[in-house]
Amino acid sequence: MTQKLLIAGTVLSLLLSGCGQNAPELDGKNNITDGSDIGGDTVSIDENGGGYGSGGSMGNYNSSSDGFRSVYFGFGDYTISPNMESNMNTNVKVGSSASAKIKIEGNCDEFGTDEYNYALGLKRAKAVKDSLAAQGVSSSKMVLVSFGESSPVCTEPSDTCYDRNRRVDLRLVK
Protein backbone atom coordinates (compact mmCIF):
# COMPACT_ATOMS: atom_id res chain seq x y z
CA MET A 1 0.00 0.00 0.00
CA THR A 2 2.82 2.35 0.94
CA GLN A 3 4.54 1.59 -2.37
CA LYS A 4 1.35 2.44 -4.30
CA LEU A 5 0.99 5.65 -2.41
CA LEU A 6 4.58 6.57 -3.21
CA ILE A 7 4.17 5.85 -6.95
CA ALA A 8 0.88 7.74 -7.10
CA GLY A 9 2.36 10.72 -5.31
CA THR A 10 5.43 10.79 -7.53
CA VAL A 11 3.45 10.62 -10.79
CA LEU A 12 1.03 13.30 -9.67
CA SER A 13 3.80 15.64 -8.59
CA LEU A 14 5.55 15.16 -11.95
CA LEU A 15 2.33 15.93 -13.79
CA LEU A 16 1.59 19.02 -11.77
CA SER A 17 5.11 20.36 -12.05
CA GLY A 18 4.84 20.02 -15.85
CA CYS A 19 1.67 22.08 -16.00
CA GLY A 20 2.44 25.02 -13.79
CA GLN A 21 4.13 28.32 -14.59
CA ASN A 22 5.65 29.16 -11.25
CA ALA A 23 7.64 32.34 -11.03
CA PRO A 24 11.09 32.29 -9.50
CA GLU A 25 11.19 33.97 -6.12
CA LEU A 26 13.33 37.07 -6.37
CA ASP A 27 12.29 38.96 -3.28
CA GLY A 28 14.19 42.20 -2.87
CA LYS A 29 16.41 41.82 -5.94
CA ASN A 30 14.60 44.26 -8.19
CA ASN A 31 14.30 47.35 -6.09
CA ILE A 32 15.84 49.73 -8.63
CA THR A 33 14.74 52.85 -10.40
CA ASP A 34 14.61 52.59 -14.15
CA GLY A 35 12.86 54.90 -16.61
CA SER A 36 15.81 55.15 -18.97
CA ASP A 37 14.52 52.60 -21.46
CA ILE A 38 11.46 54.70 -22.22
CA GLY A 39 13.58 57.01 -24.38
CA GLY A 40 13.85 60.77 -24.60
CA ASP A 41 11.57 63.24 -26.26
CA THR A 42 11.06 62.93 -30.00
CA VAL A 43 11.10 65.71 -32.56
CA SER A 44 8.16 67.44 -34.18
CA ILE A 45 8.82 68.69 -37.69
CA ASP A 46 6.75 71.14 -39.74
CA GLU A 47 7.28 70.62 -43.46
CA ASN A 48 5.05 73.52 -44.49
CA GLY A 49 6.42 75.82 -47.13
CA GLY A 50 6.92 73.08 -49.70
CA GLY A 51 3.75 71.17 -50.31
CA TYR A 52 3.78 68.74 -53.14
CA GLY A 53 4.48 69.99 -56.60
CA SER A 54 6.23 73.20 -57.36
CA GLY A 55 4.18 75.71 -55.42
CA GLY A 56 0.86 77.44 -55.92
CA SER A 57 -2.45 77.23 -54.09
CA MET A 58 -3.99 73.89 -53.06
CA GLY A 59 -6.92 74.36 -55.41
CA ASN A 60 -4.65 74.15 -58.40
CA TYR A 61 -3.52 70.65 -57.50
CA ASN A 62 -6.90 69.03 -57.66
CA SER A 63 -7.64 69.47 -61.38
CA SER A 64 -5.60 69.92 -64.55
CA SER A 65 -4.23 73.34 -65.34
CA ASP A 66 -2.32 75.21 -68.05
CA GLY A 67 -4.89 74.25 -70.66
CA PHE A 68 -4.81 70.48 -70.00
CA ARG A 69 -7.92 68.40 -69.39
CA SER A 70 -8.23 65.71 -66.71
CA VAL A 71 -8.72 62.13 -67.85
CA TYR A 72 -11.14 59.92 -65.90
CA PHE A 73 -11.09 56.15 -65.36
CA GLY A 74 -13.42 53.30 -64.35
CA PHE A 75 -13.23 51.49 -61.01
CA GLY A 76 -9.94 49.60 -60.71
CA ASP A 77 -9.17 50.39 -64.37
CA TYR A 78 -6.18 51.99 -66.02
CA THR A 79 -7.14 51.98 -69.69
CA ILE A 80 -8.26 55.21 -71.33
CA SER A 81 -11.90 54.88 -72.36
CA PRO A 82 -13.18 56.13 -75.74
CA ASN A 83 -15.23 58.89 -74.10
CA MET A 84 -11.98 60.50 -72.97
CA GLU A 85 -10.86 61.00 -76.58
CA SER A 86 -11.81 64.68 -76.67
CA ASN A 87 -9.88 65.39 -73.48
CA MET A 88 -6.86 63.49 -74.80
CA ASN A 89 -6.95 65.41 -78.09
CA THR A 90 -6.79 68.64 -76.10
CA ASN A 91 -3.90 67.29 -74.06
CA VAL A 92 -1.96 66.29 -77.18
CA LYS A 93 -2.42 69.77 -78.62
CA VAL A 94 -1.36 71.55 -75.41
CA GLY A 95 1.44 69.08 -74.72
CA SER A 96 2.94 69.31 -78.19
CA SER A 97 3.38 73.06 -77.90
CA ALA A 98 4.49 73.11 -74.27
CA SER A 99 7.99 74.39 -73.67
CA ALA A 100 8.13 73.28 -70.01
CA LYS A 101 7.99 69.76 -68.62
CA ILE A 102 4.55 68.24 -68.23
CA LYS A 103 3.68 66.69 -64.89
CA ILE A 104 1.18 63.83 -65.20
CA GLU A 105 -0.48 63.02 -61.86
CA GLY A 106 -2.31 59.74 -61.28
CA ASN A 107 -5.12 59.66 -58.71
CA CYS A 108 -7.46 57.05 -57.24
CA ASP A 109 -10.69 56.88 -55.30
CA GLU A 110 -10.59 55.94 -51.64
CA PHE A 111 -11.31 52.23 -52.16
CA GLY A 112 -7.80 50.94 -52.18
CA THR A 113 -5.13 50.45 -49.63
CA ASP A 114 -1.59 51.33 -49.11
CA GLU A 115 0.89 50.77 -51.94
CA TYR A 116 -1.46 49.08 -54.40
CA ASN A 117 -3.57 52.22 -54.82
CA TYR A 118 -0.47 54.31 -55.55
CA ALA A 119 0.60 51.80 -58.18
CA LEU A 120 -2.87 51.97 -59.71
CA GLY A 121 -2.63 55.77 -59.89
CA LEU A 122 0.75 55.40 -61.56
CA LYS A 123 -0.63 52.99 -64.16
CA ARG A 124 -3.26 55.61 -65.04
CA ALA A 125 -0.63 58.31 -65.35
CA LYS A 126 1.52 56.04 -67.53
CA ALA A 127 -1.45 55.22 -69.79
CA VAL A 128 -1.90 58.95 -70.42
CA LYS A 129 1.83 59.43 -70.96
CA ASP A 130 2.02 56.53 -73.43
CA SER A 131 -0.98 57.86 -75.32
CA LEU A 132 0.52 61.35 -75.55
CA ALA A 133 3.86 59.90 -76.65
CA ALA A 134 2.14 57.81 -79.32
CA GLN A 135 0.64 61.02 -80.69
CA GLY A 136 3.92 62.85 -80.88
CA VAL A 137 4.52 64.44 -77.49
CA SER A 138 8.14 63.91 -76.48
CA SER A 139 8.53 61.36 -73.66
CA SER A 140 11.51 63.23 -72.30
CA LYS A 141 9.40 66.22 -71.34
CA MET A 142 6.85 64.23 -69.34
CA VAL A 143 7.22 63.31 -65.67
CA LEU A 144 4.93 60.91 -63.81
CA VAL A 145 3.76 61.09 -60.19
CA SER A 146 1.14 59.01 -58.44
CA PHE A 147 -0.82 60.60 -55.62
CA GLY A 148 -2.87 57.47 -54.91
CA GLU A 149 -5.97 58.41 -52.91
CA SER A 150 -4.24 61.36 -51.21
CA SER A 151 -5.63 64.19 -53.36
CA PRO A 152 -9.36 63.82 -53.87
CA VAL A 153 -11.17 66.69 -55.60
CA CYS A 154 -14.39 65.52 -54.01
CA THR A 155 -15.06 63.97 -50.60
CA GLU A 156 -18.79 63.22 -50.75
CA PRO A 157 -19.75 59.54 -50.40
CA SER A 158 -21.34 59.26 -53.85
CA ASP A 159 -20.58 57.43 -57.09
CA THR A 160 -20.27 60.75 -58.96
CA CYS A 161 -17.70 61.90 -56.46
CA TYR A 162 -15.71 58.69 -56.66
CA ASP A 163 -15.76 58.97 -60.48
CA ARG A 164 -14.19 62.43 -60.27
CA ASN A 165 -11.36 61.18 -58.07
CA ARG A 166 -10.27 58.34 -60.39
CA ARG A 167 -8.41 60.68 -62.69
CA VAL A 168 -5.17 61.85 -64.19
CA ASP A 169 -4.39 65.57 -63.94
CA LEU A 170 -1.84 67.29 -66.14
CA ARG A 171 -0.01 70.55 -65.58
CA LEU A 172 3.25 72.20 -66.49
CA VAL A 173 6.19 72.00 -64.09
CA LYS A 174 7.02 75.59 -63.15
Binding site: G35, I45, E47, F111, T113, Y116, Y118, A125, V145, S150
Partner: protein, 417 residues
Protein backbone atom coordinates in the same frame (compact mmCIF):
# COMPACT_ATOMS: atom_id res chain seq x y z
CA UNK B 1 -6.38 0.57 -6.18
CA UNK B 2 -8.18 3.84 -5.45
CA UNK B 3 -4.92 5.75 -5.82
CA UNK B 4 -4.16 4.02 -9.10
CA UNK B 5 -7.52 5.18 -10.40
CA UNK B 6 -6.71 8.75 -9.39
CA UNK B 7 -3.38 8.55 -11.18
CA UNK B 8 -4.96 7.17 -14.34
CA UNK B 9 -7.64 9.86 -14.28
CA UNK B 10 -5.02 12.59 -13.83
CA UNK B 11 -2.96 11.18 -16.69
CA UNK B 12 -6.01 11.03 -18.92
CA UNK B 13 -6.89 14.65 -18.20
CA UNK B 14 -3.29 15.70 -18.80
CA UNK B 15 -2.90 13.92 -22.13
CA UNK B 16 -6.30 15.04 -23.40
CA UNK B 17 -5.36 18.65 -22.66
CA UNK B 18 -1.96 18.30 -24.22
CA UNK B 19 -2.66 16.30 -27.33
CA UNK B 20 -6.34 16.46 -28.19
CA UNK B 21 -6.47 20.15 -28.98
CA UNK B 22 -5.55 21.26 -32.48
CA UNK B 23 -3.45 24.33 -31.76
CA UNK B 24 -4.37 25.92 -35.11
CA UNK B 25 -8.06 25.78 -34.34
CA UNK B 26 -7.86 26.69 -30.68
CA UNK B 27 -9.84 29.87 -30.13
CA UNK B 28 -8.42 30.86 -26.80
CA UNK B 29 -5.48 29.67 -24.76
CA UNK B 30 -6.61 27.44 -21.95
CA UNK B 31 -7.53 29.50 -18.96
CA UNK B 32 -5.60 27.08 -16.76
CA UNK B 33 -2.36 27.89 -18.56
CA UNK B 34 -2.59 31.58 -17.70
CA UNK B 35 -1.85 32.71 -14.20
CA UNK B 36 -4.57 34.53 -12.30
CA UNK B 37 -3.55 38.01 -11.28
CA UNK B 38 -5.32 40.96 -9.66
CA UNK B 39 -4.40 44.62 -9.81
CA UNK B 40 -4.49 46.78 -6.71
CA UNK B 41 -4.28 50.52 -7.31
CA UNK B 42 -2.55 52.57 -4.63
CA UNK B 43 -2.41 55.84 -6.59
CA UNK B 44 -3.54 59.08 -4.96
CA UNK B 45 -5.55 59.92 -8.08
CA UNK B 46 -6.88 56.61 -9.26
CA UNK B 47 -7.56 56.37 -12.95
CA UNK B 48 -9.58 53.87 -14.96
CA UNK B 49 -7.45 54.77 -17.98
CA UNK B 50 -4.28 53.63 -16.20
CA UNK B 51 -6.02 50.50 -14.89
CA UNK B 52 -7.25 49.63 -18.40
CA UNK B 53 -3.75 49.97 -19.85
CA UNK B 54 -2.50 47.51 -17.23
CA UNK B 55 -5.35 45.16 -18.13
CA UNK B 56 -4.59 45.42 -21.86
CA UNK B 57 -0.92 44.63 -21.33
CA UNK B 58 -1.70 41.61 -19.17
CA UNK B 59 -4.31 40.31 -21.59
CA UNK B 60 -2.37 40.68 -24.83
CA UNK B 61 0.64 38.97 -23.25
CA UNK B 62 -1.33 35.72 -23.28
CA UNK B 63 0.33 34.73 -20.01
CA UNK B 64 -1.98 36.31 -17.45
CA UNK B 65 -5.67 36.01 -16.66
CA UNK B 66 -6.33 39.39 -15.08
CA UNK B 67 -9.12 40.14 -12.64
CA UNK B 68 -11.13 42.98 -14.20
CA UNK B 69 -12.13 44.47 -10.83
CA UNK B 70 -10.32 47.75 -10.07
CA UNK B 71 -9.18 47.06 -6.50
CA UNK B 72 -7.78 49.82 -4.31
CA UNK B 73 -5.13 49.52 -1.65
CA UNK B 74 -1.79 50.77 -0.38
CA UNK B 75 1.07 49.89 -2.71
CA UNK B 76 3.43 49.21 0.21
CA UNK B 77 1.12 46.88 2.09
CA UNK B 78 1.84 43.18 2.27
CA UNK B 79 -1.62 42.38 3.58
CA UNK B 80 -3.95 40.78 1.07
CA UNK B 81 -7.73 40.93 1.51
CA UNK B 82 -9.46 37.51 1.53
CA UNK B 83 -11.17 38.33 -1.77
CA UNK B 84 -7.81 38.20 -3.53
CA UNK B 85 -6.79 34.84 -2.12
CA UNK B 86 -8.25 33.11 -5.18
CA UNK B 87 -5.66 34.90 -7.33
CA UNK B 88 -2.18 33.50 -7.76
CA UNK B 89 -0.52 36.90 -7.88
CA UNK B 90 -1.39 40.45 -6.92
CA UNK B 91 0.18 43.39 -8.68
CA UNK B 92 0.16 46.49 -6.50
CA UNK B 93 0.91 49.77 -8.22
CA UNK B 94 0.79 53.50 -7.74
CA UNK B 95 1.10 56.08 -10.49
CA UNK B 96 1.85 59.71 -9.73
CA UNK B 97 1.80 62.45 -12.38
CA UNK B 98 2.19 65.57 -10.24
CA UNK B 99 5.69 66.17 -11.61
CA UNK B 100 6.48 64.00 -14.59
CA UNK B 101 5.36 60.43 -14.23
CA UNK B 102 6.36 58.00 -11.51
CA UNK B 103 5.18 54.41 -11.38
CA UNK B 104 5.82 51.99 -8.54
CA UNK B 105 4.94 48.33 -8.95
CA UNK B 106 5.15 45.33 -6.60
CA UNK B 107 4.25 41.77 -7.47
CA UNK B 108 3.14 39.62 -4.55
CA UNK B 109 2.39 35.95 -4.28
CA UNK B 110 -1.19 35.63 -3.02
CA UNK B 111 -0.67 32.46 -1.05
CA UNK B 112 1.79 33.92 1.44
CA UNK B 113 2.29 37.57 0.48
CA UNK B 114 5.88 37.02 -0.67
CA UNK B 115 7.19 39.92 -2.74
CA UNK B 116 8.49 38.64 -6.10
CA UNK B 117 9.21 41.90 -7.88
CA UNK B 118 9.52 45.55 -6.97
CA UNK B 119 10.53 48.39 -9.24
CA UNK B 120 10.10 52.14 -9.68
CA UNK B 121 9.93 53.86 -13.06
CA UNK B 122 10.04 57.59 -13.68
CA UNK B 123 10.19 59.96 -16.64
CA UNK B 124 10.10 63.77 -16.65
CA UNK B 125 6.97 64.02 -18.83
CA UNK B 126 3.36 62.92 -18.41
CA UNK B 127 2.33 62.18 -21.99
CA UNK B 128 4.41 58.99 -22.28
CA UNK B 129 2.81 57.46 -19.18
CA UNK B 130 1.53 54.38 -21.13
CA UNK B 131 5.11 53.40 -21.92
CA UNK B 132 5.95 53.16 -18.20
CA UNK B 133 3.13 50.68 -17.70
CA UNK B 134 4.13 48.69 -20.81
CA UNK B 135 7.73 48.56 -19.54
CA UNK B 136 6.64 47.41 -16.09
CA UNK B 137 4.47 44.59 -17.43
CA UNK B 138 7.18 43.55 -19.88
CA UNK B 139 9.69 43.43 -17.01
CA UNK B 140 7.35 41.37 -14.82
CA UNK B 141 6.74 39.03 -17.75
CA UNK B 142 10.52 38.61 -18.14
CA UNK B 143 10.97 38.00 -14.42
CA UNK B 144 8.35 35.24 -14.64
CA UNK B 145 10.43 33.78 -17.50
CA UNK B 146 7.54 33.84 -19.95
CA UNK B 147 8.09 34.33 -23.70
CA UNK B 148 9.15 37.89 -24.49
CA UNK B 149 6.48 40.57 -24.93
CA UNK B 150 8.77 43.59 -25.19
CA UNK B 151 6.97 44.59 -28.39
CA UNK B 152 4.38 46.28 -26.16
CA UNK B 153 7.01 48.92 -25.31
CA UNK B 154 7.59 49.87 -28.96
CA UNK B 155 6.28 52.81 -30.93
CA UNK B 156 3.68 52.47 -33.66
CA UNK B 157 4.27 54.97 -36.48
CA UNK B 158 1.49 55.84 -38.90
CA UNK B 159 0.50 58.38 -41.54
CA UNK B 160 -2.97 59.94 -41.75
CA UNK B 161 -4.53 62.16 -44.38
CA UNK B 162 -5.35 65.52 -42.81
CA UNK B 163 -6.79 67.21 -45.94
CA UNK B 164 -6.62 66.65 -49.71
CA UNK B 165 -2.92 66.67 -50.57
CA UNK B 166 -1.85 66.87 -46.92
CA UNK B 167 -0.85 64.25 -44.38
CA UNK B 168 0.72 63.88 -40.96
CA UNK B 169 3.03 61.22 -39.57
CA UNK B 170 2.39 60.29 -35.95
CA UNK B 171 3.82 58.13 -33.20
CA UNK B 172 1.71 56.13 -30.77
CA UNK B 173 2.06 53.44 -28.17
CA UNK B 174 0.36 50.20 -29.14
CA UNK B 175 -2.85 51.16 -27.28
CA UNK B 176 -2.97 54.61 -28.96
CA UNK B 177 -3.38 56.25 -25.55
CA UNK B 178 -0.16 58.12 -26.42
CA UNK B 179 -0.12 59.95 -29.75
CA UNK B 180 2.23 62.57 -31.10
CA UNK B 181 2.52 64.17 -34.54
CA UNK B 182 6.16 64.19 -35.58
CA UNK B 183 5.82 65.38 -39.20
CA UNK B 184 3.17 67.81 -40.35
CA UNK B 185 2.83 70.00 -43.43
CA UNK B 186 2.91 68.78 -47.03
CA UNK B 187 2.34 65.23 -48.17
CA UNK B 188 4.55 62.74 -46.33
CA UNK B 189 3.62 59.08 -46.54
CA UNK B 190 4.62 55.45 -45.96
CA UNK B 191 6.58 55.72 -42.67
CA UNK B 192 8.75 52.67 -42.03
CA UNK B 193 11.09 52.04 -39.10
CA UNK B 194 14.73 52.13 -40.18
CA UNK B 195 16.23 50.21 -37.27
CA UNK B 196 15.29 47.77 -34.53
CA UNK B 197 15.77 50.44 -31.87
CA UNK B 198 13.24 52.73 -33.55
CA UNK B 199 15.58 55.72 -33.55
CA UNK B 200 15.06 56.54 -37.24
CA UNK B 201 12.38 56.06 -39.83
CA UNK B 202 12.03 56.26 -43.60
CA UNK B 203 9.19 58.13 -45.25
CA UNK B 204 8.23 59.33 -48.72
CA UNK B 205 8.07 63.09 -49.24
CA UNK B 206 6.18 64.75 -52.09
CA UNK B 207 7.88 68.08 -51.50
CA UNK B 208 9.73 68.03 -54.84
CA UNK B 209 8.57 67.38 -58.38
CA UNK B 210 8.93 63.63 -57.88
CA UNK B 211 8.63 61.53 -54.69
CA UNK B 212 11.78 61.22 -52.55
CA UNK B 213 12.66 58.83 -49.72
CA UNK B 214 14.01 60.45 -46.56
CA UNK B 215 15.52 59.00 -43.40
CA UNK B 216 14.66 60.93 -40.24
CA UNK B 217 16.19 60.57 -36.78
CA UNK B 218 13.15 61.03 -34.54
CA UNK B 219 15.24 62.20 -31.57
CA UNK B 220 17.46 64.89 -33.08
CA UNK B 221 15.54 65.70 -36.28
CA UNK B 222 18.47 65.04 -38.63
CA UNK B 223 17.23 64.10 -42.06
CA UNK B 224 18.82 62.85 -45.28
CA UNK B 225 17.46 62.11 -48.74
CA UNK B 226 18.13 58.49 -49.69
CA UNK B 227 16.77 58.26 -53.23
CA UNK B 228 14.07 59.75 -55.47
CA UNK B 229 12.04 58.29 -58.32
CA UNK B 230 9.53 59.21 -60.97
CA UNK B 231 6.04 57.91 -60.41
CA UNK B 232 6.06 56.45 -56.92
CA UNK B 233 8.51 55.52 -54.20
CA UNK B 234 7.81 53.47 -51.10
CA UNK B 235 10.11 51.82 -48.60
CA UNK B 236 8.25 48.54 -48.09
CA UNK B 237 10.76 46.70 -45.93
CA UNK B 238 14.14 46.98 -44.23
CA UNK B 239 16.40 43.95 -43.82
CA UNK B 240 17.29 42.71 -40.35
CA UNK B 241 20.59 44.60 -40.04
CA UNK B 242 19.28 47.77 -41.66
CA UNK B 243 21.65 47.74 -44.64
CA UNK B 244 19.18 46.99 -47.45
CA UNK B 245 15.73 48.25 -48.35
CA UNK B 246 12.95 46.84 -50.48
CA UNK B 247 11.59 49.77 -52.47
CA UNK B 248 8.65 50.05 -54.79
CA UNK B 249 9.75 52.59 -57.35
CA UNK B 250 9.12 53.47 -60.95
CA UNK B 251 12.21 55.01 -62.59
CA UNK B 252 10.70 54.23 -66.01
CA UNK B 253 7.07 54.78 -65.09
CA UNK B 254 6.57 51.15 -64.19
CA UNK B 255 6.04 50.20 -60.52
CA UNK B 256 8.44 47.39 -59.68
CA UNK B 257 10.28 46.18 -56.60
CA UNK B 258 13.95 46.99 -56.15
CA UNK B 259 16.46 46.04 -53.47
CA UNK B 260 18.43 49.12 -52.48
CA UNK B 261 21.88 48.73 -50.91
CA UNK B 262 22.44 51.64 -48.52
CA UNK B 263 26.20 51.09 -48.40
CA UNK B 264 26.86 51.20 -52.13
CA UNK B 265 23.82 53.37 -52.94
CA UNK B 266 22.99 50.91 -55.71
CA UNK B 267 19.73 49.23 -56.58
CA UNK B 268 18.86 45.80 -58.00
CA UNK B 269 15.62 45.28 -59.85
CA UNK B 270 13.82 42.32 -58.26
CA UNK B 271 10.56 42.22 -60.25
CA UNK B 272 9.99 43.05 -63.90
CA UNK B 273 6.34 42.92 -64.86
CA UNK B 274 4.24 45.26 -66.98
CA UNK B 275 1.36 45.26 -64.48
CA UNK B 276 1.58 46.15 -60.80
CA UNK B 277 4.23 44.76 -58.43
CA UNK B 278 4.30 46.36 -54.96
CA UNK B 279 4.61 45.69 -51.22
CA UNK B 280 7.85 43.67 -51.21
CA UNK B 281 8.65 41.99 -47.88
CA UNK B 282 11.70 39.95 -47.02
CA UNK B 283 10.85 36.35 -46.26
CA UNK B 284 12.71 33.27 -45.01
CA UNK B 285 16.44 34.05 -45.08
CA UNK B 286 16.03 37.46 -46.80
CA UNK B 287 17.09 35.97 -50.14
CA UNK B 288 13.43 35.86 -51.17
CA UNK B 289 10.51 38.25 -51.03
CA UNK B 290 6.75 38.04 -50.97
CA UNK B 291 4.90 40.81 -52.78
CA UNK B 292 1.57 41.88 -54.24
CA UNK B 293 1.09 41.63 -57.99
CA UNK B 294 -1.82 41.76 -60.43
CA UNK B 295 -0.13 39.35 -62.86
CA UNK B 296 -3.20 37.07 -62.74
CA UNK B 297 -5.55 39.98 -63.38
CA UNK B 298 -6.26 40.77 -59.73
CA UNK B 299 -4.13 41.63 -56.71
CA UNK B 300 -2.61 38.55 -55.10
CA UNK B 301 0.39 37.42 -53.05
CA UNK B 302 3.44 35.99 -54.80
CA UNK B 303 6.91 34.85 -53.77
CA UNK B 304 10.15 35.33 -55.65
CA UNK B 305 13.86 34.80 -55.11
CA UNK B 306 15.75 38.10 -55.21
CA UNK B 307 18.41 36.68 -57.51
CA UNK B 308 16.44 34.42 -59.87
CA UNK B 309 13.36 34.99 -62.04
CA UNK B 310 11.21 32.11 -60.72
CA UNK B 311 7.99 33.43 -59.20
CA UNK B 312 5.36 31.37 -57.39
CA UNK B 313 1.83 32.09 -56.26
CA UNK B 314 1.40 32.02 -52.48
CA UNK B 315 -2.37 32.45 -52.04
CA UNK B 316 -5.04 30.52 -53.91
CA UNK B 317 -8.25 32.13 -52.71
CA UNK B 318 -9.83 35.56 -52.45
CA UNK B 319 -10.99 38.11 -55.00
CA UNK B 320 -8.40 40.70 -54.15
CA UNK B 321 -5.46 40.16 -51.77
CA UNK B 322 -3.86 43.57 -51.93
CA UNK B 323 -1.65 43.84 -48.82
CA UNK B 324 0.67 41.51 -46.95
CA UNK B 325 3.43 41.39 -44.37
CA UNK B 326 6.03 38.75 -43.58
CA UNK B 327 8.20 37.72 -40.64
CA UNK B 328 10.61 34.82 -41.09
CA UNK B 329 8.48 32.27 -42.91
CA UNK B 330 5.15 33.64 -41.68
CA UNK B 331 2.94 35.64 -44.05
CA UNK B 332 -0.18 37.60 -43.15
CA UNK B 333 -2.39 39.09 -45.85
CA UNK B 334 -5.74 40.83 -46.25
CA UNK B 335 -8.28 39.33 -48.61
CA UNK B 336 -11.39 40.99 -50.01
CA UNK B 337 -14.28 38.58 -49.65
CA UNK B 338 -17.11 40.56 -51.25
CA UNK B 339 -17.35 42.37 -54.52
CA UNK B 340 -18.95 45.75 -53.99
CA UNK B 341 -17.43 48.40 -56.21
CA UNK B 342 -17.95 51.11 -53.60
CA UNK B 343 -17.53 50.50 -49.90
CA UNK B 344 -19.11 47.85 -47.71
CA UNK B 345 -16.57 45.19 -48.64
CA UNK B 346 -15.47 42.53 -46.21
CA UNK B 347 -11.72 42.17 -45.87
CA UNK B 348 -10.35 39.41 -43.66
CA UNK B 349 -6.85 38.60 -42.54
CA UNK B 350 -5.25 35.22 -43.11
CA UNK B 351 -2.05 33.66 -41.84
CA UNK B 352 -0.01 31.37 -44.04
CA UNK B 353 3.63 30.48 -44.46
CA UNK B 354 6.18 30.55 -47.24
CA UNK B 355 6.94 26.86 -46.84
CA UNK B 356 3.48 25.30 -46.78
CA UNK B 357 -0.05 25.81 -48.03
CA UNK B 358 -1.55 25.81 -44.53
CA UNK B 359 -3.72 28.88 -44.16
CA UNK B 360 -5.90 29.97 -41.30
CA UNK B 361 -8.24 32.93 -40.90
CA UNK B 362 -7.37 35.49 -38.25
CA UNK B 363 -10.53 37.60 -38.58
CA UNK B 364 -14.06 36.77 -39.67
CA UNK B 365 -16.02 40.02 -39.71
CA UNK B 366 -15.65 43.64 -40.80
CA UNK B 367 -13.00 45.30 -42.91
CA UNK B 368 -9.56 44.25 -41.68
CA UNK B 369 -6.58 45.82 -43.39
CA UNK B 370 -2.97 47.01 -42.94
CA UNK B 371 -1.71 43.77 -41.30
CA UNK B 372 1.71 44.20 -39.69
CA UNK B 373 3.74 41.71 -37.66
CA UNK B 374 5.31 42.76 -34.37
CA UNK B 375 9.11 42.92 -34.30
CA UNK B 376 9.25 39.34 -32.98
CA UNK B 377 6.53 38.03 -35.30
CA UNK B 378 4.36 36.89 -32.39
CA UNK B 379 1.54 39.39 -32.85
CA UNK B 380 -0.30 40.97 -35.77
CA UNK B 381 -1.52 44.57 -35.77
CA UNK B 382 -4.35 45.57 -38.09
CA UNK B 383 -6.95 48.27 -38.74
CA UNK B 384 -10.53 47.12 -38.32
CA UNK B 385 -13.53 49.03 -39.60
CA UNK B 386 -17.04 47.99 -38.66
CA UNK B 387 -19.70 50.39 -39.84
CA UNK B 388 -18.54 53.88 -38.98
CA UNK B 389 -16.14 52.92 -36.21
CA UNK B 390 -12.46 52.13 -36.61
CA UNK B 391 -10.24 50.17 -34.26
CA UNK B 392 -6.66 49.10 -34.07
CA UNK B 393 -6.59 45.38 -33.44
CA UNK B 394 -3.94 42.97 -32.18
CA UNK B 395 -3.90 39.20 -32.43
CA UNK B 396 -1.39 37.24 -30.37
CA UNK B 397 -0.70 34.32 -32.72
CA UNK B 398 0.50 32.04 -29.92
CA UNK B 399 -2.19 32.56 -27.32
CA UNK B 400 -4.93 33.61 -29.76
CA UNK B 401 -5.68 36.56 -27.48
CA UNK B 402 -7.02 39.55 -29.38
CA UNK B 403 -7.61 43.17 -28.43
CA UNK B 404 -9.27 46.11 -30.13
CA UNK B 405 -8.60 49.75 -29.28
CA UNK B 406 -10.84 52.55 -30.57
CA UNK B 407 -9.08 54.50 -33.28
CA UNK B 408 -10.41 58.05 -33.29
CA UNK B 409 -8.13 59.59 -35.83
CA UNK B 410 -8.21 60.55 -39.47
CA UNK B 411 -8.00 58.07 -42.33
CA UNK B 412 -4.87 55.95 -42.05
CA UNK B 413 -2.59 55.94 -45.08
CA UNK B 414 0.07 53.52 -43.81
CA UNK B 415 1.28 52.04 -40.52
CA UNK B 416 4.37 50.32 -39.13
CA UNK B 417 5.65 49.18 -35.70
Amino acid sequence: MQYLFVVLLAMNLFTSTLFAVDARLKIEKDVEQRVRIALVDGSTDQSSKVFNIFLSDLKISGHFLADTVHHQGDVSSNMLPPTLKSQEYVLRYSLNQQSGTELNVRLLKSSDGTQLFKKSYSIPTTDKMPFLIHKAISDINDMMQYPDISWITRYVVYAVYSAPGLSEIRLADYTFNYKKTIIRGGLNLFPKWADKDQRSLYYTSYKGTVPALYKLNIYNGSKEEIVSSDGMLVCSDVNSNGTKLLLTMAPEGQADIYEYNLGSRSKTRVTDFKGIDVNGKYVDDENSIVFISNRLGYANVFKKSIHSPATSQVVYHGRNNNACDAHGGKIVYSSRESNNAFGGNTFNLYLTSSGSSDTRPLTTTGTNQFPRFSSDGSTVLFLKQSGRSSSIGYINLTSQQSLLFPFNDRKIQSIDW
